[in-house]
Amino acid sequence: MKQPIKILQVEDLETDADLINRELLKSKLNFERLWVSDKNAFEKALNDYSPDIILCDHSLPSFTSLDALQILKATGKRIPFIVISGTVSEEFVVNMMKEGVDDYIIKDRLQRLSSAITNTLAKAGSEKEKQRHTELLIKSEANLRAIFNNTDLSFILIDKQFKIISFNHVAEQFFKYQYNSKIAEGLEFINVIHESRREFVGGILNSVVEGKKADYEISIEKPANITLWFALKISPIMSDGKQILGVLISIENITDRKNTELEKERMTTEIIQHNKNLEQFAYIISHNLRSPVANIIGLSNMIQNMPGLNKADLQRCIDGLALSANKLDDTIIDLNYILQIRSDINEQKEIIKLNNIVRDISSGISLLINQEKAFINTHFSEADEFYSIKSYVHSIFYNLITNSIKYRHPLRDPVIEIKSKTEPGKFILIFKDNGLGINLNAHKEKVFGLYKKFHSNTDGKGMGLYLVKTQVEMLGGTIDVKSEPNQWTEFTIQFFIPTINN
């Protein structure tokens, strides 16, 4: 021991105190000593001196060794206590030991003193150490327990045979809500998970007990229509000697994070698509602006540089100039219109009655409808209202209806069927006609393209379906087309209605 042992000696007689001191000096003990002879001095020394060990005479004038022991106990300190006395009865010794005295030495046999001190201190030291370890263990277990029970993660501990050893409250809730199963200590882990997952999870557990780690995500549809996402981490629990003791499974609800990720992905895809559309738009517009300009240059070159042109050709050049100039103007007007429509997205949304839309359009084009003997059948009983931007919805209906009449079949009166319906999270419009149809095998990608035409015998210029698609997409919807050439064409428009999600 580096520090000298601090010995508190309680003895009324100086001769006896010296005697004991001499005995201590004789031994090889490294010590220092404080000698007190009465109760007050003893109490004071307990506080100020903090001895490592107390050597106490049994019979003192003001108090006995048992009184001294009581005083020590009352302080709450655990200091080894050795009684030194003259001859006493065996019964007395037993009683002393019961009270908590560590050793007892008879004054006639003081040679045993040094070994008694050493042994007592060693015993007290190991006890103290044990006490400290126990306290640490309790503290660390309490810490772990607190973490275990106060986290948002589900934790399940299983042994090498996959029997559940322990789990936290979150884990219990997880299995209750997701699998309607109750987990309990001692159950086979594989039995508390869903039947369809057992083979997969079993395989993973087998690889984990061989020392591997597993990390994966799952989605569960529960309650219906709401997808929850979970991240699972399954790892072996190893002893210091790298022996596998069991498996720790943690399950984290990552639904929010996942939804944000998915939303981000969806938005990126949308932005890429928008960008593509804009590129396409710029390309088409540049072509449609450039084309009449090239003709104007070509025609003026001819007039300037071809003196041999006859009168008819010259007239054709002049007519061509006028035609090209008008075409240029039309394109600029179209361009302006399309840009205008794009900015209409900022208009206020309102409840739109589908019947009113169709009625307004019908009266607006009543001349065309009468002339072509067209018939519009509406089926809006399932969903007769729609919350959206009115000018867009009007334009979508207008373009699809007039297209159906423009591209009518020559041998039958045009009939247009318009149906609305709802599905969870969706509002659906279906337009079906009995017209010329479109050969989609050849033109699927171009159907909605700007200035794309599929029939050469009409006055269409390839704007209608482009506008429809633009407006549907700006309202966050999709449009799809099916057709049987010479039989019918059907457009299906789906708008996504955000669901109220608690």
Partner: protein, 138 residues
């Protein structure tokens, strides 16, 4: 058709453009530059393809002169210029003489030029309007 001066550069050329005004300008420019003795004009790539198929099959017929230069517009309905070239190359070219393919477009897009180059290095890419100096380079 009026008989031109005998010193025409080529015997026969073909114009494919859905716009008749463009065909008019191109035809007059070819004529003024004595580019070809015979000029076929087509307002659709589909009909042009059909026509070429027929005269290619009737190769022995002296009346069917296969064009030495074909001018093709890019932006056409139903079958566009690129699709025309693809179909021409796969269906007609292997069994007939190969004319110069000239894309004649109002497009100033670099993408279109790259797409044309990808179809064949020999394809000439010209921007409308057609001029005398362009014709001299063919």
């Amino acid at each position: 058709m009026k008989i031109k001066e005998p010193k025409c550069k080529y015997k026969c050329a073909m114009l494919i453009d859905d716009n008749s005004l463009d065909n008019f300008i191109n035809e007059k420019t070819l004529e003024a530059n004595y580019f070809a003795k015979v000029i076929y004009t087509n307002t659709s790539a589909t009909s042009a393809l059909e026509f070429l198929k027929n005269i290619s099959a009737a190769d022995k017929n002296p009346n069917g002169i296969f064009p030495e230069v074909v001018f093709i517009d890019l932006n056409m309905p139903l079958l566009d210029g690129f699709q025309f070239i693809e179909q021409y190359k796969s269906k007609i070219e292997p069994s007939s003489k190969t004319p110069r393919l000239v894309i004649l477009t109002s497009s100033v897009s670099v993408k279109d030029q790259h797409r044309a180059a990808a179809l064949g290095k020999e394809i000439i890419f010209l921007h409308k309007p057609l001029t005398s100096s362009m014709l001299q380079s063919i």
